[in-house]
């Protein structure tokens, strides 16, 4: 075997290297090292983020085609890295609190391992590597959800998460075993499966296989029939983990979903899974919206909002084109900064006061004008109000879906548009609570820590400039193009 192939997995090696450094510092460094672990990890990860943006991608498949780091994969990894960097910044103060300080090394290690799994998931072109990546991305997350040892909610969230995660991965494995039966020569490479499935008549077994695979991955994305864990887990998990779950884990799963359904099952698009995805997307957007309206807890509210946003991200899969992949990546990037801005505010307020209810935000602008400002911008962006980035990401993904001039896709976009208006209502509820609701402010004025302010500044800059700088969208599409040549 040619071991030099490992050299081509540069992004993975960088993350693995950081993991080993953090692990050794945490284990052998003693008390002194634990004190500087937070800034140390954050700076190291920031450097890695820059490095992953800079290093060239390696389009040459390695390990017999199991792993490939195309330009799109590399761009996606770099975007996820930006998100993780923001999560690290906003959780810096939390990891220094008395309850977590002694275990904060574990928090960073688990986070890096899940990120490693997501990298494998994004780059995998063989179902075995994909399953390994998916599992190493979701199992450590269960341990992270259970991180607040002294809070009962954390344990309840963790048991709900791990049971549904194992259930869905069992369904996914069952689906893959049925797909395996269809592979002409017993090979599980995406390309071989596409060749074997071409011209296959849609039999009951094939439909069951694809439905099982959609269910298994849909769980990670919290698409609607498989979303029931989302709200409870988001509410019970520590806020930093909730932020991580809602953007990073979802973004990587969406990309992997796209790759699998275009590369492996692309030839079955119109015969088998197109109609399944219509139903799933419409249900996801609508039900996520309707349940978000009645939430009073901000973390539960963001859970249903993120379910609905996952439906919009999935619109990109319906296009099966480079334009669709590019606008999906752009949507995920915008979603990362908007959602993390909201979670930065939520976690800053929760850390100071312990309040997460929506009514606790009444009159926030009197005491914390800057946090209110950031929260308002983020809500406008999530709802898709111009000129913020959310508007452009929505318009681009709608354009890419309607580019193929199919009547059914136009109807799908119509449903999504109506839901955008519904979502405006509940996003503006938060803005109303902050700026309009009468009464004394429940949150006292406070100055957030430097790291939290940096995280918020990055997010706000992203919300304002991603939409106005067309280069970023062009970059996403350019990166996506080589996958379709």
């Amino acid at each position: 075997m040619d071991y030099s192939q490992f050299g081509a997995m540069l992004p993975e090696l960088i993350i693995l290297g950081i993991f080993l450094i953090v692990f050794c510092t945490d284990t052998f460094g003693g008390e002194g090292a634990r004190k500087i672990l937070t800034p140390f990890t954050t700076v190291l990860f920031g450097l890695a983020t820059v490095a992953i943006w800079i290093i060239p991608s390696n389009a040459e498949p390695i390990f017999g085609g199991m792993y490939v780091d195309t330009t799109a994969c590399k761009a996606m990894k770099a975007m996820l890295n930006v998100g993780v960097f923001i999560v690290l910044l906003q959780s810096a103060k939390w990891t220094d609190s008395d309850e977590v300080a002694i275990r904060k090394g574990e928090f960073y290690e688990l986070m890096l391992v899940t990120l490693f799994g997501m990298y494998l998931m994004i780059s995998a072109r063989h179902f075995l590597l994909f399953v390994i990546g998916l599992e190493s991305a979701s199992l450590p997350l269960a341990a992270m959800v259970a991180f607040n040892k002294k809070h009962y909610e954390s344990h309840e969230a963790a048991i709900k998460y791990i049971l549904t995660a194992v259930f869905s991965s069992a369904i996914l494995l069952m689906g893959l075993s049925l797909v395996y039966a269809f592979s002409g020569n017993g090979s599980l490479y995406f390309d071989d499966i596409r060749v074997a499935l071409t011209g296959e008549a849609p039999s009951g077994l094939l439909i069951a296989a694809l439905a099982f695979v959609i269910a298994g991955i849909g769980f990670k994305l919290s698409l609607v029939p498989f979303h029931l864990w989302t709200a409870d887990v988001y509410q019970g998990a520590p806020t930093a983990i909730t932020a991580y779950l809602s953007v990073i884990s979802k973004g990587s799963a969406a990309f992997a979903f796209f790759v699998i359904f275009v590369q492996a099952f692309g030839s079955m698009y119109s015969v088998v899974w197109e109609w399944m995805m219509y139903a799933v997307i419409i249900a996801t957007i609508t039900i996520g919206n309707l349940f978000a309206m009645r939430q009073k807890n901000m973390k539960r509210f963001m859970a249903f909002s993120s379910i609905s946003q996952a439906g919009y991200i999935m619109l990109g899969v319906m296009t099966e084109s480079a334009l669709g992949l590019g606008s999906m990546m752009f949507y995920i990037f915008v979603y990362i900064v908007s959602n993390l801005a909201v979670f930065s505010v939520i976690s800053a307020i929760e850390r100071k006061t312990g309040l997460v209810g929506m009514e606790d935000y009444d009159g926030l602008h009197k005491t914390n004008p800057w946090l209110s400002f950031a929260m308002t911008l983020a809500m406008f962006s999530l709802a898709g109000i111009p000129p913020f980035a959310g508007f452009f990401s929505k318009i681009l993904i709608f354009t890419s879906v309607t580019a193929s001039d199919s009547m059914a896709l136009y109807m799908l976009v119509l449903v999504a548009l109506i839901n955008t208006i519904i979502s405006l209502y509940y996003y503006l509820l938060v803005v109303k609570a902050i700026w309009i609701n009468p009464g004394e402010a429940k949150v006292e004025g406070f100055r957030s820590s430097g790291a939290e302010r940096l995280a918020l500044w990055i997010c706000v800059a992203g919300i304002i400039f991603f939409g106005l700088v067309p280069y970023i969208y062009q970059y996403c599409v350019d990166m996506a193009l080589p996958m379709f040549n």
Binding site: F127, L128, V131, I132, E135, L139, A142, A143, A146, K149, Y152, E153, H155, E156, A157, A158, I159, K160, I162, L163, A165, V166, F167, S169, A170, I171, L173, M174, L176, S177, L178, Y180, A181, S183, N185, G186, S187, L188, A231, D232, Q235, G236, F291
Partner: protein, 103 residues
């Protein structure tokens, strides 16, 4: 009597359905885990049988099964650790008593 592929597929399907049924009806968390193991093992059995009968001479299904068994073991370990935490908090392992967070 020669063993055709059906002799393996039918037990695998029965195992999978039993696992789903057990997951939906059992109250004890350990019993839930056992049901999940049934489902995972039926998928493994499928892989091996398809490999043996449909694609003799290749190894993909067997190798996949080895990895899937290791993953299933890791999943069980994490789940049991969380169940122990729950047991320390509430004193039993009944899934119906874990219901503080709802809609």
């Amino acid at each position: 009597m020669d063993l055709t592929i059906l002799w393996y597929i039918v037990p695998s399907v029965i195992m999978f359905c039993a696992g789903v049924y057990g997951f939906c009806t059992r109250k004890n968390m350990i019993a839930l885990l056992i049901s999940l193991e049934l489902m995972l093992n039926s998928a493994d059995l499928n892989f091996i049988v398809f490999n043996r009968f449909l694609f003799p001479g290749t190894m993909d299904g067997m190798v996949f099964t080895l990895f899937a068994i290791a993953i299933a073991a890791a999943e069980t370990a994490v789940a049991i650790a969380i169940i122990i935490n729950i047991y320390r908090e509430i004193g039993n392992t009944d899934i119906t008593s874990v219901k503080q967070m709802k809609f």
